[in-house]
């Protein structure tokens, strides 16, 4: 291995360990931690599907399309982070092919319907992340979920505009959030 490749490899390993401190605690994950990760990873796959279809629908301007692309990328990273947590804990991570994502017929026909569906899923997801940020057993998990909640909040404002910003977003338990998104998961 030449010096440049060695340095790049070392940087890669370093950034991975800095970027995913929660993986070091995977062995200590409680059942509730795994439930948060299972719900979160699955819902992020749904969110990524939403963004992909929203981009294809071509119903919004360049600025919002850029936000959709950033959202799709973030959903992929969020799903991966939680999938890695699950596999590190010896669990099985969800895959896109495990689901038949089902969006109501008119979801991607109008901008209003599209945004309403996206916001409904994102708000349910953020609600669970807020709960996880308070309830997860390990500090590294709590930090992860606080980050995820912040990131999803950014997406909510990017989709819904300033009116979508809430002073006190509601924290949700998995059961309530699950009811909110179940119709889309097939």
């Amino acid at each position: 291995m030449d010096r440049r490749r060695f340095v790049l490899a070392a940087l890669g390993a370093g950034s991975a360990s800095v970027a995913a401190p929660w993986l070091g605690s995977a062995g200590a994950a409680t059942e509730d931690d795994l439930a948060f990760a299972n719900f979160g990873a699955s819902t992020e796959l749904l969110v990524r599907d939403f963004y992909a279809k929203a981009i294809d629908a071509n119903l919004v301007g360049a600025q919002t399309t850029s936000a959709l692309k950033h959202g799709r990328s973030a959903a992929g990273w969020h799903a991966k982070a939680q999938s890695d947590l699950l596999t590190s804990a010896g669990d099985v991570a969800p895959l896109p092919e495990d689901f038949d994502f089902e969006w109501p017929l008119r979801t991607f026909k109008t901008k209003a319907a599209m945004m309403a569906a996206g916001l409904a899923v994102l708000r349910a997801l953020r609600g669970v992340y807020q709960t996880a940020a308070a309830m997860a057993s390990e500090q590294s998990y709590r930090v992860l979920y606080a980050s995820l909640a912040a990131s999803v909040s950014q997406q909510i404002v990017a989709l819904g505009g300033a009116a979508a910003a809430e002073p006190f977003p509601v924290a949700l338990d998995i059961e309530s959030a699950s009811d909110a998104i179940e119709r889309y998961l097939g």
């Binding site: 059942e31 509730d32 795994l34 439930a35 299972n38 719900f39 699955s42 819902t43 669990d91 099985v92 969800p94 092919e97 495990d98 689901f99 998995i174 059961e175 699950s178 998104i181 179940e182 998961l185 097939g186």
Partner: protein, 241 residues
């Protein structure tokens, strides 16, 4: 005279071959496949049970021609020991919680299992549906409800029967089994994000004397006709297929 003898010999070979062809195959299949396999091809000889029990029987030399399992684990273990040919995935399924129509424990959601006193019946951990049940509970953070299990059954049919007869307040079964007793139970959906990856595999048993016929039967099951029969009974296509 010689011509007659030759014709007789040819006839004997042909009828013998036809008899071999028409002899039913012995198919060992997961209990959840009972209704669909019998309807799909009533002319074969079936033995339905928990896939783990069937795996053990085949390992002990049971005279099966085909093994259809509700979990890849059972077929793959036999394949690694050359006891069956290469398994193929032929369908998938989902889990559901069922309660008796009278619903004496007032169960409306899977989470009610944690909140309410219930008599829960599930399959044993070695039975595929029992393993899948534990996966669902772990994914939902509900493993604590295992303390409410009053009976662990040897296959999914036994779980279904106990709930349908009102001998338990709730039980985890495949969606396809719930459909079979829809007049006696209420089905409570398990969230898609908590569903395990239920895959059915099928393989020709290595000791079978009817390998060609067994292979042909599996091919028919994988055909559009076979897949339509499975769909009619509520089974799902193989994801990504």
């Amino acid at each position: 005279m010689k011509v007659l003898a030759a014709l007789g010999a040819v006839l004997a070979i042909l009828t013998g071959s036809a008899r071999a062809q028409s002899q039913p195959l012995t198919i060992y299949a997961a209990a959840s496949l009972t209704d669909v396999f019998r309807a799909f091809d009533p002319d074969q000889r079936y033995s339905f049970s928990g896939s783990n029990a069937l795996e053990t029987q085949i390992r002990n030399g049971a005279p099966a021609d085909i093994f259809a399992s509700a979990a890849p684990l059972n077929t793959q273990r036999l394949f690694r020991q050359n006891l069956v040919g290469k398994p193929v995935t032929f369908t998938s399924n989902r889990l559901a919680l069922i309660v008796p129509k009278s619903n004496p424990a007032g169960i409306r959601s899977v989470y009610d299992l944690r909140r309410k006193p219930v008599k829960l019946v599930i399959a044993g951990a070695a039975v595929p549906v029992g393993g899948y049940t534990r996966t669902v509970l772990r994914r939902m953070g509900l493993s604590s409800v295992l303390s409410k299990v009053v009976s662990q059954e040897t296959d999914v049919r036994a779980v279904t029967g106990k709930v349908a007869l009102g001998q338990a307040d709730a039980g985890f079964v495949y969606v396809t089994d719930a459909r079979a007793v829809a007049d006696r139970v209420t089905v409570i959906r398990i969230p898609a994000w908590a569903q395990p990856r239920v895959r059915y595999e099928i393989a020709v048993v290595s000791s079978s004397s009817k390998k060609a016929a067994a292979q042909a039967w599996i091919k028919t099951l994988l055909s559009a006709r076979g897949q339509a029969a499975l769909k009619e009974y509520g089974f799902l296509p193989v994801p990504g297929a």
